[in-house]
Symmetry: D2
């Protein structure tokens, strides 16, 4: 798994859009991944909350990396669905995704996104999607 | 509808994240909206295609604006689902959303996202979601 | 395509649940399928409308058959999403699904469900999903 | 909550389609509901597994009842998304739904569907959707 965690970090840092958003891969495991974005003015929407597009990027990308960890290599999101639950505000937003069903070629994953303000952590979105392996079983 | 189109443009330009992505509101109508992003290196993922997070931002935001036009005022996306169909490459990516069912408080909208390279236009994603009015019927 | 249309009819009639619901495969084409259910008391929910479960069965199954036609053989729904738009009432409910993106192994399809009462036809639900081929390219 | 559990049972038994499928409301709580279907030949698809339409009915209806419990009264599913994970076989299929975010007017719920064969219980589908209250706060 260590080799895979290193690969995940490399892929993550190779995403220019991820650098633009300023996201960090704050954790990976055998079948999960966590991505964090720290609040910045330029990530907001018109009412001062973190833009839904940032939340959906976080959900999408953490689903991809959770699926990639479970599938053992580079992966991409085939489809996902997200429900926004609350406006996102605070110092950071953290998306945690977990594979719930893993095949050879694809994994179905669930995601929870929390906004953290001081000691408060609020569930702001949940998502569910299908992740497809680019080269199944290449790294284990 | 003209007043509403002006409001849509104001809201769009008031989104800092939209400025970060460099998106433009390239069209609105009674029950639709079109948002365009021009390709830039920092919108890509690790294989040089436009990042899925940009595509989902485009889908999400164009769904919101289509719903807002149909509902007559500021609105937000309550939930949506997206299927990625092809890798997105080319000079620009255009998301077109259309309300297919409009109530007093919410609208259900569909979205098509095309990547445009020269004369080629490729359907790269479709989405479907629910848009909720913030202050129903405020502008008509 | 004719061979494939015959196969679609055979598969459809081999579904015991479809017989229980009383659904009919009222049309297929190269990349689409239409399934109709005629109203019956035992298909209703507590308020006298056609039960959402019948609508989602219709969406799911017509997505599968549209995908199967496009993919050239037996297929199954991997995932789908449905938005209910209006209560369904009238003599019949008709689901029409269309493949919008077709690969070797899977197709992404969209579905519209209409309730028909006399000359009125009301859009009661839309759906979108992924269909996977069981034995890709077996019949063309 | 007891009054609400009684109401849930009454609504459930008032659904003719639920009787046709032979589903039972095997549990409700403050923000959850469980519905069970016992296997029958006429609930199958063409390969002898429980039909996806039965699984989506179970997901949809258990989401509705979980949302109804959380919202305090009669409710309906506005939209949901389902991923099928494994073929469903065994003596029974059990859908368990839980509200994860509850407002005054709507709740977002998640659902897990298991197929039970003897001592084996297999996760066959997961779903996520939005439930809307018909008369908010009518029973608490």
């Amino acid at each position: 798994m260590e080799e895979l965690a290193v690969l995940a970090g490399q892929i993550f840092r190779a995403q220019p859009f991820t650098a633009l958003v300023g996201a960090e891969l704050t954790g990976v495991g055998q079948d999960w991944a966590e991505i964090t974005v720290f609040s910045r003015k330029d990530l907001q929407q018109q009412h001062g909350f973190i833009h839904g597009g940032v939340i959906s990027y976080l959900a999408d990308n953490s689903l991809t990396f959770a699926g990639g960890m479970a599938l053992g290599g580079d992966a991409l999101t085939s489809e996902f669905k997200i429900n926004y639950l609350k406006p996102a505000k605070g110092e950071k937003v953290v998306a945690h995704s977990q594979a719930v069903s893993v095949g050879y070629r694809q994994a179905v994953c669930q995601c929870s996104v929390h906004a953290v303000a001081g000691r408060d952590s609020v569930l702001v979105a949940i998502a569910q999607g299908t992740i497809v392996a680019l080269s199944p079983g290449s790294v284990r």
